[in-house]
Symmetry: C2
Subunit: 223 residues, 2 copies
Amino acid sequence: MIFSTSEENYIKSIFHLQQFAELVNTNALATEMNTRAASVTDMLKKLKTKKLVQYEKYQGCKLTEVGKKVALAIVRKHRLWELFLVDKLRFDWDSVHPIAEELEHISSEELVNKLSDFLGNPSFDPHGDPIPDKNGKIPLLNQQCLSDIPIKKIVTISSVSNQSAQMLEMLKHYHIVLGTQIMILKKFEFDGSSEIKVIKKNVCIISEQVTKNLFVHDIQKKK
Amino acid sequence: MIFSTSEENYIKSIFHLQQFAELVNTNALATEMNTRAASVTDMLKKLKTKKLVQYEKYQGCKLTEVGKKVALAIVRKHRLWELFLVDKLRFDWDSVHPIAEELEHISSEELVNKLSDFLGNPSFDPHGDPIPDKNGKIPLLNQQCLSDIPIKKIVTISSVSNQSAQMLEMLKHYHIVLGTQIMILKKFEFDGSSEIKVIKKNVCIISEQVTKNLFVHDIQKKK
DNA sequence: AATTAAATTTAGATTTGTCTAAATTTAATT
DNA sequence: AATTAAATTTAGACAAATCTAAATTTAATT
């Protein structure tokens, strides 16, 4: 079955929002997709007839099993393309998202699989996010939120949950990329901010908002 | 300026048909694009207001200078992606066209240029067609049509003008790919067909139609 | 030159995805 | 429980790209 770019974007957004709530409500989707609630309602009706979402008037929606498969296929494509752009074409990791948003809608399944082979069937993208395999299986990585890590412990950055351009730009400024090793020197009760040592490099102060969006794991990460 | 996929496809088709005639008429475009004459008329009006084509009612159309630049940019993308698919992802050269048709509409200019760098800024695609550079300049190759080549002369296949799936499949069957060296053993007056020796391999008979669509150059081709 | 045929355009309809504004339903608060 | 507020849906409109069928223009032929 083939889907329009628009349908795919809705599915992807619902998949994303389902991480935070069992049911995704119309307004949240409208905000996420930068559109109006009325448009969302229209699309949800359509996705329902295609059996991609469960949806009852006024009750919000969630993906069906089929919908989830479709979402995972799109996520897979997105992340593989991001990795390709960074590793092969030498893009900066903070600039590949919008291009991958286009590439992820190229339909050929053979293309995705050959791309994956070409990249060595990787498990994580340049932001540290896991890449679902052919069957939609997501590799696991035992990671913790930086805000839950005690001071003086060396950890490795493994993913960034808020991937806004602003956030990525800021991390870049502090020389914090995937795989970077850091240590919390001090936590300030006052505003939740933390003093961070970027191993072998600089020291910086980052806000609580940032620590909540950075995920880390113990020392060496294996891909 | 940004164009829709549909607009880009029209521009590309007009560019293609302009090789054969000064003015491209509506029906020819409709056939090429697999659509109806009425739809073509609608689009031509639109492309005219965008100054991409010159068009007068009932008189056919041709690309403006700007239109040509746009067309060359699309051709560049298409051919770079084809080369990527064949050289890097290991697709067969006769199966990449439909995928490149999708990839050519990805907009990022930076992407195209980095892709070109990654591929070593090549001048020819897997079908032997020249790849326009950043500025739309097309590399030349002094090639001749196979039907104009005398017998007993060894030449190298450099491009295929009719790239229908059927044609490509047939060439593949005879082990004729880009760079293949061949020699005409005999030409039959009766039907224009030719007996061909594929150097170091098989002998085969190909029709006049095929010889008219194969282009060759002397012995060794340099890329 | 008149007639016929072919090519092209117009007019009006359709589909997809979107929108605004009004109506309806659900949730929150007095 | 009644009222207000927030969320959601409906109704109707719009733009892009397409289509069919009818009208028009150009080209070809008698």
